[in-house]
């Protein structure tokens, strides 16, 4: 079965992101597939490459990155959510003439069409943090 995962909570702010990550791992471990992970609202912060939690705590950005790498997952951050919250890749930083970018390169900025497409294509859509 194919799952679409929507993450609306920021890391360390709510349980949503961590639960979504655990769920994603369980989906893959059970032999199912993940069509896409879409980060919306404060979920955009999950792609913040500058997050530096204490060493004895899970680094959620790295956790998403390694899961994404291992399973070739699409980690999509909504462009409107990202820009509002100062989550910029190099292209957006240049476009808005900002001095730095902070989106982890394993995440991709894209539009809401990716959310709608995922919800329509996957067998199940799971939202975390609404």
């Amino acid at each position: 079965m194919q799952f679409m995962i929507v993450v609306q909570g920021g890391p360390y702010t709510t349980q949503a992101s961590l639960t979504a990550w655990h769920f994603a791992r369980a989906v893959l471990a059970s032999g199912h597939e993940i069509y896409r992970v879409f980060f919306y609202h404060d979920g955009a912060y999950n792609g913040n490459a500058l997050i530096a939690p204490p060493q004895d705590e899970i680094n959620l950005v790295e956790a998403w990155r390694s899961l994404g790498e291992e399973h070739s997952l699409e980690l999509i951050v909504c462009v409107a959510s990202a820009l509002r919250r100062g989550m910029l890749d190099a292209t957006e930083a240049q476009r808005y003439e900002k001095s730095a970018s902070n989106l982890d390169p394993h995440f991709t900025i894209s539009g809401l069409g990716q959310l709608i497409d995922g919800a329509l294509t996957a067998d199940r859509t799971m939202t975390f943090g609404s």
Binding site: Y40, A119, T125
Partner: protein, 117 residues
């Protein structure tokens, strides 16, 4: 054609959930048949005559009026949630159709996917 149901359950302005949820509804309407259900404090999003200047918040409720132009005409609310808040559909934009619990269940079951905000 597949059918998407959007559920708006947060009050406006206290967070961006409602406003960004509406953005998703507008995006969805470009692809498929969309319905919107307002539940809980989400019903406050449709209050007419919101005055948001003092909040420095965008009066995005007026954008809901554009839904009809986008072909989204299935607008529902939970009747009990309206009643508990002392509201009637006359207080709301878009004249949503109030649903009882059984009708909400039917609506949820009829959607191919549900996006919660």
């Amino acid at each position: 054609m597949k059918k998407l149901l959007f559920v708006q359950s947060k009050p406006p302005h206290g967070s961006l959930q409602g406003q960004e949820g509406l953005d998703a509804i507008l995006a969805g309407s470009a692809f498929v048949d969309c319905a919107v259900l307002f539940t809980g404090d989400g019903v406050y999003q449709l209050l007419s005559q919101q005055h948001t200047d003092a909040l420095s918040s965008r009066d995005y409720a007026v954008t809901y009026l554009a839904l009809e132009d986008y072909g989204v005409d299935q607008i529902y609310c939970v009747a009990a949630d309206l009643q508990q808040r002392g509201l009637t559909t006359a207080d709301l934009l878009l004249n949503p159709t109030p649903l009882d619990d059984a009708e909400v269940q039917t609506l949820l079951q009829g959607a191919d996917a549900i996006l919660d905000f």
